[in-house]
């Protein structure tokens, strides 16, 4: 017979593991990937593939040759980073090589420089995305137009479209009122916005696909409702107040939460376990901050979209929130 194993209690473990969590997140991202492929064609798949492969490769190289530690690519976290990075860039052909740089920044600077999974203060995919946005402003804001309901193009970016938020920012800059812009022909309908038939980063276009993934994650208890609800809720209420004050200057709340990266950000990026607070109360504050900052940046900032910046800023507040927000003690 074998030697008896001895350890302190407990002697049983739930089947939970980091690997399992990460693969479930990957699964939850699939609906959004499918929608992106439907609207942007093979480019979307290619960009995602390149992003994922380069993220995994960079992590493997760094662990093998620089850190000299056993490889952890099997846990699937690099794949999550790769997918999220791809979801945050336009599905255009110039992205096929630019995204590799993004992957390098995301993995090398955003994650491994802090010691790898679990130690990074900022969401690595967003670090990569913001780096690309600043370094390649033209390519990062040239959006391929969403095709009609089936892929009509393959490797060409025949026409370029604008995101709804981009249209609004441009319009406001040129002195138009929001009402006029919303009424213009370029502006997609709410239904199109919800389903994802709009221009934009490839993963953020379809609120529906993102919600399907988010509901799956909620059911699997990988995320809790606190961050998404407080993020989207705050954005909705704050933009609603602004809209009530001046409907000419500010976008209505429904369009606000459905456009841009709010859905993707609130459900997948802000809920990243490593970079968000752990206590429920902290998560509510975190989501509130993200929502508030997003609306502020959108309305008064230089960029039409502010979700990435909002989440990164709140990431930096996370350690403080972890310190302040404690779970309720059973016995005081």
């Amino acid at each position: 017979m074998n030697l008896l194993n001895i350890s302190g209690s407990p002697h049983v473990h739930s089947d939970e593991s980091t690997k399992r969590i990460m693969w479930r997140v990957n699964l939850a991202l699939v609906p959004a990937l499918i929608v992106a492929t439907l609207f942007f064609g093979v480019n979307a798949l290619l960009v995602s593939l390149i992003s994922v492969v380069s993220c995994v490769l960079f992590q493997w190289l760094i662990e093998k040759f620089i850190l000299k530690v056993p490889s952890t690519i099997g846990d699937g976290s690099a794949i999550v980073t790769g997918l999220l990075l791809a979801f945050n860039v336009p599905a255009s052909s110039s992205m096929l090589w630019i995204v590799i740089i993004g992957a390098l920044v995301a993995i090398a600077i955003g994650k491994m420089s802090f010691g790898g999974l679990g130690r990074n203060p900022f969401n690595p995919a967003l670090v990569g995305r913001v780096f690309l946005l600043i370094s390649f402003p033209v390519q990062m804001t040239t959006w391929p137009k969403a095709a009609s309901w089936f892929p009509t193009r393959f490797l060409t970016d025949a026409d370029s479209g604008a995101t709804p938020l981009g249209l609004i920012k441009e319009g406001v800059k040129s002195g138009q009122s929001i009402k006029d812009i919303m009424a213009s022909a370029d502006m997609p309908s709410l239904c199109d916005i919800f389903l994802g038939h709009i221009g934009g980063s490839m993963g953020e276009i379809s609120a529906l696909a993102i919600l399907i993934g988010a509901i799956y994650l909620l059911c699997r208890k990988i995320i809790s409702w606190h961050i998404p609800v407080s993020f989207i809720g705050t954005a909705f209420i704050f933009s609603g107040i602004l809209w009530l004050i001046s409907p000419d200057k500010f976008l209505d709340p429904v369009t606000t939460i459905l456009t841009g990266g709010i859905m993707l950000g609130a459900c997948f990026m802000a809920t990243d376990m490593v970079t968000s607070p752990m206590a429920r109360s902290g998560q509510l504050i975190f989501g509130f901050g993200c929502g508030l900052l997003t609306v502020i940046i959108r309305n008064w900032g230089a960029y039409p979209e502010g979700v990435s910046f909002a989440i990164l800023i709140m990431n930096s507040v996370t350690p403080l929130l972890n310190r302040w927000c404690k779970p309720r003690r059973f016995a005081c």
């Binding site: 074998n2 030697l3 008896l4 194993n5 001895i6 350890s7 302190g8």
Partner: protein, 297 residues
């Protein structure tokens, strides 16, 4: 354009000067008067902050030295005599003398002595494992092998031997700061005098069980038989609680007890390998590697 540059330079320059002035005033106003000798003493200390002296760190040790004015009862083990001499010179007092010491692990390698009887699968911490049970060897006094001592050592002087699961001290690196001895929950590690020519004899066991029980636990356990006590010419060996102990201040390293010990619990370190006797040529061949191993330790 040029104007813009000039304005920026001027503003930054002015701010720089302003802050410099503020810093200067603050530094002057809140200056802490401190004996400059403390800095000088701290400079000659090794700076490892090992805590072996019993103070919070090297600077605290320096403060204690300066405050006391001499080195009585204060000793920096890592620095040894060289540092002690330097500090004494700075303080203008006599050099504190101390016999150089080294950490000694008093447990026989478990794979040879006590066989593994279970498989510990919990937190890699001796302090914790000690609260769970007696350890993989089944010896309630033996080494637990999780390396709390290795983690405690600031000088990389103690390492786990992967083969035996018992730590090995690198005598050249060991500064006798005592951190490992404190970290060991079973008090196996002891600071002992390095001995003349680095030759030491010690009982490599701390098992206090009764003879028969100890023997059952480990082949190389000290069974407290007292043979070593009888053979020792210096009266350096005492038996208490079924365990023999060699007083290193009295031991002359004659090694009579090593030969006498029926369980080979007494180890000798630093002695040259025994010379092969020509008439006993067939016998010592298998014994030689074993002797070499103990010497290497």
């Amino acid at each position: 354009m040029t104007n813009d540059i000039l304005i920026a330079v001027a503003v930054l320059g002015a701010l720089g000067i302003l802050f410099a002035v503020v810093l200067f005033i603050v530094a002057q106003k809140f200056k802490v008067e401190e004996n400059p000798l403390i800095d000088e003493v701290a400079d000659v200390l090794p700076g490892a902050n090992c805590g072996g002296c019993g103070k919070a760190g090297c600077r605290a040790f320096a403060e204690a030295c300066v405050q006391q004015g001499n080195m009585e009862g204060l000793r920096c083990a890592p620095g040894g005599d060289a540092v002690a001499a330097k500090v004494a010179e700075l303080l203008g007092c006599a050099v504190a003398q101390g016999e150089p010491q080294v950490a000694v692990v008093r447990c026989n390698p478990s794979c040879k002595g006590a066989s593994r009887r279970s498989n510990y699968d919990g937190l890699r911490s001796c302090a914790f494992q000690n609260t769970v049970y007696t350890g993989e060897s089944g010896c309630p006094f033996g080494c637990l092998g999780c390396g709390d001592c290795v983690a405690a050592c600031q000088f990389d002087a103690i390492k786990m031997d992967p083969e035996t699961g018992v730590p090995v001290v690198d005598a050249d690196r060991c500064t006798a700061c005592g951190a490992c001895a404190k970290a060991c929950p079973r008090r196996i590690i002891e600071l002992r005098n390095k001995g003349r020519k680095d030759r030491r004899v010690f009982v490599s066991c701390v098992n206090k069980e009764k003879g028969a029980q100890a023997r059952k636990t480990c082949d190389n356990a000290c069974i407290g038989c007292g043979k070593c006590e009888k053979v020792c010419p210096m009266g350096a060996i005492t038996i208490a609680d079924n365990l023999s102990y060699i007083d290193f201040t009295k031991c002359i390293a004659c090694r009579k007890c090593v030969v006498e010990c029926p369980t080979h619990a007494i180890h000798d370190v630093g002695f040259p390998a025994p010379a092969k006797k020509p008439e006993a040529a067939p016998a010592p061949a298998p014994a030689a590697p074993q002797a070499a191993k103990t010497t290497a330790e």
